[in-house]
Structures are given as structure tokens and as C-alpha cells.
Symmetry: C2
Subunit: 335 residues, 2 copies
């Protein structure tokens, strides 16, 4: 039996807690940054705001205080939005201690620094004189389906194979299967950049351009993701796996993707404020990741035409139609 | 101006003819094996059976006689079902002559021989003392969308770069873009095997397993396709491109795919006869390709677990649910 703390009660954090509880054998703490969300979850045994319709099993305890959630945990899964990972770990650090094992389930790249989430976590903890092993959980997984127990396969990445194997063993269940991978860079970048491509795929759908165009765009997206990840030290095979192409396909074609939904709205000509309001508090990581990825690409001398067009749409108000036209008409005589 | 003969009047052949006519500058012959289909097309200027709703432009002439269609053609695009490619080229051969350029747009592998379509064509022509260059047209392209002029990107593959460049130049239009590739093996195998994976993706959908499962299955499908193509001499990058992953994504997620439709029916427990009747005369190439691909895999010592389960379903009446469960529970600790 392990004591597992899930830090962050968005849709994905809540789904992970439910999945771990269903698997059995663990004591689970689910921490919410928002006191009222925690209170409602404790009372109703449901995360009505972020993952409605799923009961929180009894083995899930709700906390709004990080100290209580973290103090006795063996494994800590963090699932906060990428922009809050740095401040969250600064808050968590005083309650962490050697022997604990971290798992980052946040997808994104820090904007100014270009750091991956495990790099941010490591940096924050080192400043506090702490050094804890940190794996990455990523892959094609809509939270609702994981909560419902639909068959799902994801990746647990760590350079430390013992860590990866332990998380694999303790998280895997009849419906959720974890595959180990030692390529942390590839897994983190794949999971992050796919959100940028998903916005573009949403735009193609919103413009009504059809399946052929979407497939062409995703194919280019795979090339673009892979180029950056390999330049940063990731492996090509990782990008061709669950946490790369697999997650990209899910996000670009499934109707449950928030990043794709943002793109759809842009393609249909909706104003950004209206689109974001429609997400009901959920975060679309791809918006922030777009400029962060371009920063990384610039440092590594990598071309990312799709991300560039997305930035032009998101930051400069470029017309989505013109951006997609330019992508499609981009010279490229051979593959 | 070129004279282009499109041999085969299924949905894809008809869409190619319409796309070439829309591009302009060519004289197009569309040949139908079935005399009544040709007669109706000539009369109504529409292929009501295979691609309803699209008018055949004036520059498209309809033929039911291969001699007239082929005699004066500069470029010949063949789009017959894979099982008829051998007999069709035996019929075409007497009317072909040096200087003509062939393009195969049929996706599939010959069952007993394991030959790719360009190999079958070459073998048939050599027996008649003919040797004509033959390229391959493949990639993510639902016929309806190409006919409608939706932006589409596909591959023209040939070891002969002059051939590929000429077809690229003469077929590309504002909405249809061709990319050249010299990896004929990779392009032909990618385009064929994706139909097998599409049946499996359809089954996952038919069983109601959700997006996460579909993404996991497609990811495995990419690995399986790539393994076989590389063992046969294709390039990994080709399988990661338009005619590999791109076409796979289209076929596995788009609702217009016949192979996916067959899988959906199987997943829903429909009998095969009913499913095939529902295709209304259209061919689902993946059914035949399944055993052909396994034959090739056996010869090259490659594992194809998805294709094996599809064969068990199609040939041995194995329960689709059990087949998918076995695929999902297949041991595979790391990616």
C-alpha cells in the first residue's frame, strides 16, 4: 500500500485520484488549491466544477492544506496548470522530505525560461536544499474516459528505471496501463507541443476545411514536434509513441480536447474572450505553450511553422484563415 | 497539356478525374469497367453510384473500352480495386506503348504473392515485353473532399524523380498539393497497411471504448506499419509522413472511411454479410490486405499483433471484444 497525494483538482487530477482509488490498495489524498472546491468535493463527493458525474471513492480524502496532503505521502503526483507549477512547488517544498517520489502530470513549458516542468520542479526544490526524483506521466488520456474506466495506455517517464517501474506497478489497473520510458525530454516536449498543434487542428475544423486538411496538418505537426524534441535531446521513437503521436492524435481529433475547442472557436471567428469564457475555468495549455515552444525552437535553431502561425493568430490577431492558407501553401516540394 | 487516362471509376478514380479537370489544362479520359456505369455517367454527367453529388466537368470523357481510353494517353492513372490490378493490366497491356507514364493509385497488397501494386503491374507488363515507369499516388484523401476541392496534400512516389516531378506539376492545383518521395516501398506499404489498422480502430469505436483506446491502438498501428515497411526496405520517415501516419489518422478517425466502417459494424456485433452489403458496392481493401500483410510479415520475420487479431476476427470468427482485449492486455512493459 502507498499513500499517494494528488496535488491539483482539475479534471485530470481528479480522474487520476478516481483511477487510483478504483485500482485499490492505496490511500489517496486529493489537494485543491481552491478552498471552496475542496469544501464542495468533501460535502458532495463529486468535483462538480471540473469533472462532473463521477463519484469520489471513499479512499480519496480531500485537502485544501498542502501540509496535510503531503506530510505522509510516499508518492506525490502534481497536476497544477503549468503557470502555477513554480509557485506550487515553492509552497509544497517545506512539507516535502527525502524518500518521497514525485510524478509530474502537468503538460507545458515555462514561458520565459523555456524549462520543462520537471526542470522547474527540480530548480525550485534545489533552492530549498531538496533533491527528489521526479517522473513524468503523459499520454493520450481524456480525463472523463479515465474516470469512467475506459481502456487507456499512458507513459511513465524517468531516467531512474526503478522509479518508473514503481509508478507503473502502483498506478496500473485493469483499465489504465502505464508503459515505462527513460526519455523524459521527449515525453515532456511531446505532451506539451501537441497542445499547440491541437489549436491549429481546431482551426482547420472550425474553418470547415475537412478531414484531408486535418490529416495533412497533423502530419506536419508530428514533424514539427519531433524536430524540436530531438533538437532538445529527446528521442525520435518517443515522439512516435503514446506520449507523442498518440496524444497528438487524441487531442487533434477527439471532441473532448480543450485546445482543439479553442482552435475551433478561432476558426469560426469567435473572439478569444468568448472562447476562453466557454472553457468554464478549464485551462487550455496550448495558448501559453505556443510562445514557450517558439522560444525553445529559437534557442535550438529549429523551424516551427505551425507554432509560428498560431502565435501570429493568438498574439497579433492574424486571421486564422490566412494563417492556415499560408501553412498549406508553404513551399515543400518533397516530403 | 497532357492527355490523362483515369482507369477505374470508383469514388477515388472519379474524384481524381474531377480534380484534374478543375485544375484545367488537361484532356481527361475516365474509364469504367462496368458498361452501365459508363453509360449512366455519360448521360447524367455524374457518378451516382460511387460519388454522388459531383458533376463531371466537360473535359472528362467517359469510356467503357480500354483501348480508346489508353491509346492516346500520356499519363495513365490506375485506380481499380487491388484484386483486379493483375487482370486489368493484362487487359490494358495491348493498348500501352513506350513513352507512356503510369501512376498507381490502388492501395493494397496482392494476397498470394505479397506483391505491392507497382510490382504486380511491372510483372504483368514485362510478360508482354513492356517496361513503363510507374509512380504511386497515395496519402490522406477522402474522395468526396478532393472532389469538393477541400485542401488536400498527398504523395507522388517514384524512384524516378523526373516522373514524380512531372506528375507533381501536372496534378497539383490550388486545393490538391502533391509532394514527391522516392520511397515507393514505404509509400505503397503505408497506404495498404493503414487499412488493416483502420478496421481495428473501427472495432474499438464500435465497442464504445472511447478516444483514449483509439489513440493507443493507432499508436501501436503506426509501430506495426513502420516495422513491416522498414523490414521490406521502406524508410521510417516515409511512414511518419503523409502516406503513412497521415493516411492512417484520416482512415482511423474520419467517418468517411470504409475500412473503419467495417470495423465499427464488427464491433457492434453485426454479421459480415450485412456489413459488406451496407458498403453498397464499395470495396474495403483492408479485409484482403490483412492476410496479404501477414504473409509479408511472416516472410520478413516481423510481428504484427493487430493484423493477427484482425485476421482471427475476419477468418476465424473470433469475438472482436476478445481480440481487442488481448491486444490491450498484451505484455509490453516499456514503449
Amino acid at each position: 500500500m502507498s499513500r499517494i497525494a494528488v496535488m491539483g483538482s482539475g479534471a485530470w487530477g481528479t480522474a487520476i485520484a478516481i483511477s487510483l482509488a478504483r485500482r485499490g490498495g492505496h490511500q489517496i489524498a486529493l489537494w485543491s488549491f481552491e478552498k471552496d472546491v475542496a469544501a464542495t468535493m468533501r460535502e458532495r463527493r463529486e468535483n462538480a466544477g471540473f469533472l462532473p458525474g463521477f463519484q469520489l471513492p471513499e479512499s480519496v480524502s480531500i485537502f485544501d492544506d498542502p501540509a496535510s496532503a503531503l506530510a505522509s505521502a510516499d508518492i506525490i503526483v502534481s497536476v497544477t496548470p503549468s503557470q502555477f507549477v513554480r509557485s506550487s512547488y515553492a509552497m509544497f517544498a517545506p512539507h516535502l522530505h527525502p524518500g518521497q517520489l514525485l510524478v509530474s502530470a502537468t503538460k507545458g513549458i515555462e514561458d520565459e525560461s523555456g524549462l520543462r516542468m520537471t526542470q522547474v520542479i527540480d530548480e525550485v526544490l534545489r533552492k530549498q536544499g531538496l533533491e527528489l526524483p521526479c517522473g513524468v506521466l503523459s499520454g493520450p488520456s481524456f480525463a472523463q474516459e479515465v474516470a469512467a474506466g475506459a481502456p487507456t495506455a499512458i507513459t511513465i517517464a524517468s531516467a531512474d528505471l526503478a522509479l518508473a517501474s514503481r509508478v507503473q506497478r502502483e498506478f496500473s489497473s485493469g483499465s489504465l496501463r502505464l508503459y515505462t520510458n527513460d526519455d523524459v525530454v521527449g515525453v515532456e516536449l511531446g505532451g506539451s507541443i501537441k497542445n499547440v498543434i491541437a489549436i491549429a487542428a481546431g482551426i482547420v475544423a472550425g474553418l470547415g476545411l475537412g478531414y484531408n486538411s486535418t490529416a495533412a496538418l497533423i502530419t506536419r505537426g508530428i514533424a514539427e514536434m519531433t524536430r524540436l524534441a530531438v533538437a532538445c535531446g529527446g528521442r525520435r521513437e518517443t515522439l512516435a509513441g503514446l506520449s507523442g503521436v498518440g496524444d497528438l492524435i487524441l487531442t487533434c481529433t477527439g471532441s473532448l480536447s480543450r485546445n482543439r475547442t479553442v482552435g475551433m472557436g478561432l476558426g469560426q471567428g469567435k473572439p478569444m474572450a468568448e472562447i476562453l469564457a466557454g472553457l468554464g475555468g478549464h485551462v487550455a495549455e496550448g495558448i501559453r505553450t505556443t510562445s514557450a515552444a517558439l522560444g525553445l525552437a529559437w534557442r535550438h535553431g529549429v523551424e516551427m511553422p505551425i507554432a509560428e502561425q498560431m502565435k501570429a493568430i493568438l498574439m497579433d490577431g492574424k486571421s486564422p484563415q490566412r494563417a492556415i492558407e499560408e501553412l498549406m501553401l508553404r513551399p515543400g516540394r518533397d516530403e
